[in-house]
């Protein structure tokens, strides 16, 4: 989230699209109801189903799953045509004025540079025109036909009301009413917030769904202000933290990236990470990259990382390709992975195409599952009848199931989607012999290290020199690790102006990331977390509920990264002179000498507005990007493409199937289904009574929602002769599930491209372990393809067919 849960109460208009907050985040959704009750806010819900969020909305607009970019493109067109933008914000704080290279163009659904063989673009032309000094050219009047504003206007002119309704199936009146409500916030005193989650990400163009709404928010001046923002609700309790700490295929903690094979040494690695400003007087904060990288290496490898060995640059692996989970299971399926660890993760139900996953796990030599609960993945070799029809004697995988503690049985911190890092305390011992994950990882490492120290082996250096500064090496404490993440001073750092004065003293906890260095004198496990555990103590454990002016900021509750800042880009809440756009939306401002206000300014505190430094300090241009240059693999502007399995042909580009650059493995393309065989548009989702595959182990939640069901409209039920509570079989080209039928008015057929499209809704919570009735995983049906940029599987839009069946024999 750019903003935070409490901040939603400051919104005037709230759009829930690509998510279902009432269902998936009820206690965060509270702040929507607070905005409605106390700020007269209006709630818009756009979803294929009339959801629990829709139940308390002011306007519900149905939409066919997978057509969000069309809907949002229409909204962009509406805003531009009706001249509803917040003009000063757009002209100054976005790249609307930037001139784009002459080679960039868009035609027949494709941008310049498409290579069909590689399913990829050459993105060289998707960039600004730079002058001799390397500065981008701009046209502040926004009239140059090659400026971003004009190109954007041209791009979205095709997204007329008629066209958008034809693609999305959204009724024109509801759609335009929603657009009007959202566009009403293009004034300085009103704000609109976007709340989204996996309903947007789980598409082959998921990142572009989000980009499209981000553009809307920029056009309306809604980024950086109270009640505004792009708010990714996120799924799991610490998925924000796990990602912040770099536990992803290509990351180093703090959103640094692992080197690839084309970067053989540190100098080459840094060459593409200089981030020099491309407009005068801009911050371009990533210029500090080397400070964060070197401090991380010092944290990992301590004295073994020196300037003479490029800070142990070779101690980290380099990537030839990205090893995201879809590739991991593809490789496993090919027999190229021998061992696999699952820490609190249940891939057999989490990833698409369960049949393929089972085959892949069967090819492993060994599997280690660390979990508080007995997961389906741990039991993938057990026969559970039709719910897991395997023959254990034919599965040669050795499996370990290691019991771990749960949240209640350990100390530590979790980072929520507001970026609040909050400490929690242990209340009891884990059951039986269960251990914490920290102890298990430490024990495995200690054994590995001992073996490498004794017997040697492949490149033992990083293992042998990994820092291990724990009082009890077998049982590191959460506090010790938290301090390590925060970082500390390794050698005294004198003041540059007055060498007799010591600025940072060796042994001291790092007070702030701005002081991190690339000379080896500081260490920090994750630079964006620096400040969580300083010499002042554990800042994550703070419990002060003070909230000045009732802004929903709570500056002294826990710690919010970065630098305890609650709203990102909050400099944009003030105009170019540093004055708040409006009194209602005050957050930070320039007082003549410094920046200050309710929140920690996301800006140089002493940078005078007259310098012309812009609010989007992470970008070398200082402004936000309506046009993303070559940053996104599938286009600098979001463009509507149909899902890989779609009931209709894309009217905007009939020849293109799916996202033209999404990666599809051999064998997966072949099992995409066709609309002629599978005419119904299916989608998967969560229910409020359950959380993924955990809460089915909880008796109370099993009572509240005991058995797998699918949801269909009354119209489809009639067509297929299905009544409420009947057993049905739902088939895709990859498998079939059996479920109970919930026949509902909350799903209606949508008229798309002149024909009715029926929707089948499939909740995802069932499996073959736990307290609920056994059920099929929704991933039995889903296609094995991911987003073109980050490989999130396309769970939200695929094709199925449905039929009534006789009840299974009990």
């Amino acid at each position: 989230m750019t903003n935070g849960w409490n901040d939603i109460k400051n919104a005037d208009v709230i759009t829930i699209m690509g998510g279902n907050a009432a269902e998936a985040h009820p206690c965060g959704f509270k702040w929507v109801t607070e905005a409605k009750a106390h700020n007269k806010a209006k709630l818009i819900v756009v979803d294929p189903r009339f959801t629990r969020s829709a139940a308390v909305s002011d306007l519900y607009c149905p939409i066919r799953q997978g057509s969000d970019i069309a809907w949002l493109g229409g909204l962009i067109n509406y805003i531009l045509e009706k001249d509803k933008t917040q003009k000063e914000y757009v002209a100054l704080y976005t790249n609307a004025a930037f001139i784009v290279k002459a080679g960039y163009s868009f035609k027949d659904g494709l941008f310049t540079g498409y290579d069909e063989q590689r399913r990829d673009y050459n993105r060289a032309e998707w960039d600004y025109v730079l002058d001799e000094q390397g500065m981008a050219k701009v046209d502040p009047t926004l009239t140059d036909p090659r400026c971003v504003y004009q190109l954007m206007k041209q791009h979205y002119a095709r997204y007329t009301v008629d066209m958008v309704s034809r693609i999305t199936g959204s009724p024109k009146d509801k759609m335009v009413q929603a657009w009007e409500m959202i566009a009403s916030t293009g004034t300085p005193d009103r704000s609109h917030t976007s709340m989204y989650a996996l309903g947007w990400t789980q598409h082959a163009k998921g990142s572009q769904n989000i980009r499209a709404m981000a553009m809307v928010q920029l056009l309306l001046g809604n980024i950086g202000i109270p009640g505004g923002g792009m708010n990714a609700l996120r799924g799991h309790s610490n998925i924000q933290g796990l990602t912040d700490l770099g536990l992803m295929s290509n990351l180093i903690p703090g959103y640094l990236t692992l080197a690839n094979d084309r970067e053989p040494d540190y100098a080459t690695y840094m060459r593409t990470r200089q981030f020099k400003p491309i407009r005068p007087n801009q911050t371009s904060f990533w210029q500090n990259y080397s400070k964060f990288f070197v401090s991380f290496q010092k944290s990992m490898f301590g004295a073994a990382a020196t300037k003479y060995n490029d800070w142990a640059y070779d101690y980290l692996p380099k990537l030839d390709v990205t090893y995201d989970v879809l590739r991991a299971f593809e490789l496993m399926h090919q027999g190229k992975i021998n061992g696999y660890f699952c820490q609190g993760f249940n891939p057999l139900l989490s990833f698409p195409n369960k049949k393929k996953l089972t085959e892949a796990l069967t090819k492993l030599k060994w599997l280690v599952v660390m979990d508080p609960l007995k997961t389906e993945t741990a039991a993938f070799w057990e026969n559970h009848g039709e719910h897991n029809d395997v023959d254990p004697t034919k599965i040669q995988t050795e499996v370990f199931m290691l019991p771990t503690s749960c949240f209640a049985e350990e100390d530590g911190s979790l980072t929520n989607s507001s970026r609040w890092i909050q400490w929690h305390w242990k209340a009891a011992e884990p059951p039986g012999e269960a251990k914490t994950d920290i102890d298990i990882m430490a024990s495995l490492y200690r054994r590995m290290k001992a073996m490498y120290a004794k017997d040697g082996g492949a490149f033992p250096n990083p293992i042998l020199s990994l820092t291990w500064p724990y009082i009890d090496p077998e049982k590191p404490l959460a506090e010790e690790l938290a301090k390590e993440i925060n970082g500390k001073v390794l050698e005294d750092v004198p003041d540059a102006a007055d060498p007799t004065r010591i600025v940072l003293r060796a042994g001291q906890q790092m007070p702030a990331f701005a002081l991190l260095r690339d000379d080896g004198k500081t260490a920090a496990g994750c630079w964006i977390y620096t400040g969580v555990f300083t010499d002042a103590g554990n800042m994550m454990a703070r419990r002060d509920t003070t909230d000045p002016a009732n802004r929903g900021v709570f500056p002294n509750w826990a710690f919010s990264w970065p630098a305890n800042r609650r709203v990102l880009y909050n400099r944009a809440s003030a105009d170019k002179d540093g004055k708040p756009w409006s009194h209602r939306k005050r957050l930070v401002e320039w007082n003549g000498r410094s920046w200050g206000g309710f929140d920690v300014p996301d800006f140089g505190v002493a940078v005078n507005p007259t310098a012309g430094t812009m609010p989007f300090i992470m970008n070398p241009e200082g402004v936000a990007r309506l046009f993303t240059r070559g940053m996104m693999r599938d286009g600098p502007f979001p463009e509507h493409y149909e899902p890989f399995e779609s009931p209709v042909v894309n009217p905007l580009a009939p020849k293109i199937v799916g996202n033209p650059v999404a990666r599809v493995f051999k064998g997966d393309m072949e099992v995409f289904g066709k609309a002629s065989d599978f005419p119904l548009a299916a989608t998967t989702y969560r229910l409020v009574e359950h959380f993924h595959f955990w809460s089915k182990h909880v008796p109370v939640n099993a009572v509240l929602q005991p058995e797998l069901f699918v949801e269909i409209s009354e119209e489809l039920a009639k067509e297929k002769n299905i009544s409420r509570g009947d057993w049905v079989r739902v088939r895709s080209n990859r498998g079939a599930i059996k479920a109970k039928a919930v026949v509902t008015k909350r799903i209606k057929p949508l008229m798309c491209d002149g024909k009715p499209v029926h929707i089948v809704g499939i909740p995802l919570h069932w499996g073959f372990t736990g307290a609920t009735k056994k059920g099929f995983g929704a991933n039995t049906l889903t296609p094995y393809v991911g987003d073109a940029n980050i490989e999130t599987p396309e769970y939200k839009a695929f094709l199925v067919d449905i039929e009534r069946i006789s009840p299974p024999v009990a």
Partner: protein, 297 residues
Amino acid sequence: MATLQSLDIKRRSATTETPPNVRSSIEVAKLIDVSKCIGCKACQAACYEWNDLHEEVGINVGLYENPHDLTDKTWTLMRFTEFDNKGNLEWLIRKDGCMHCEDPGCLKACPAPGAIVQYQNGIVDFISENCIGCGYCVKGCPFNIPRISKADNKAYKCTLCSDRISVGQAPACAKACPTQAIYFGTKEEMKVHAEGRIADLKERGYQNAGLYDPPGVGGTHVMYVLHHNDQPQLYSGLPKEPKISPLVQFWKGGFKDVALFGFGLTALLGFFHYVTKGPNEVERKDEEAARRLSGDR
């Protein structure tokens, strides 16, 4: 000063004596704002956990309600109605459970001394030790709430968390509710809060929004804010004008005579049969009206 957490007794079933009442008490109420309810069932879960109730894992019968009705272990239940309001769908979700009537039909119908009590603060509580499992409270209840346990043949229902109220805490369901669709306080404050909510709903186009605090049972200590207060039946058959059955009134009125003069068993049998099996016209009519109005098949 008066208190709201005191459990001084105001009324007691099948008892004629007047309980002591020199201490003053404030009436409490739980306000259920249906217009803010997302049907998440947090209240239901919190109720199970607080009251240590272990309900059976059931099956899906094509509905979101689970279990499918109130039981001896399910004291509150989310009920879902899909209402097609002239082309605009409304998902009306009502938390069902004891209404804690000011004039409680269950208490009046109950023949077991002290099995049902009403506290000064308005809570109607079942005192299980004294319950004889006759089921009169079920028929006496205009809202069809109490359920008899097969395990111990006693009647159970929501206590309004009398154990929590007694130490100054809100009921478990109210505390859990993520959207403040359940709000707890004095009845007066809840009425004032409801006024604000109703004004907001009217501004948003719900002209018939209003407070459900039915006078037929003397008002209730669980009240609803409804978007369609003119048609409470829409909300899974919430009765429009709930009243204590005239039979219960009769039983209550004739109670002393029955007990003291010892009517013949035959006459009693007939009377019991009618009370326990006889039709409850109000309910059936309301249910039908609800089905018709919501367009359910």
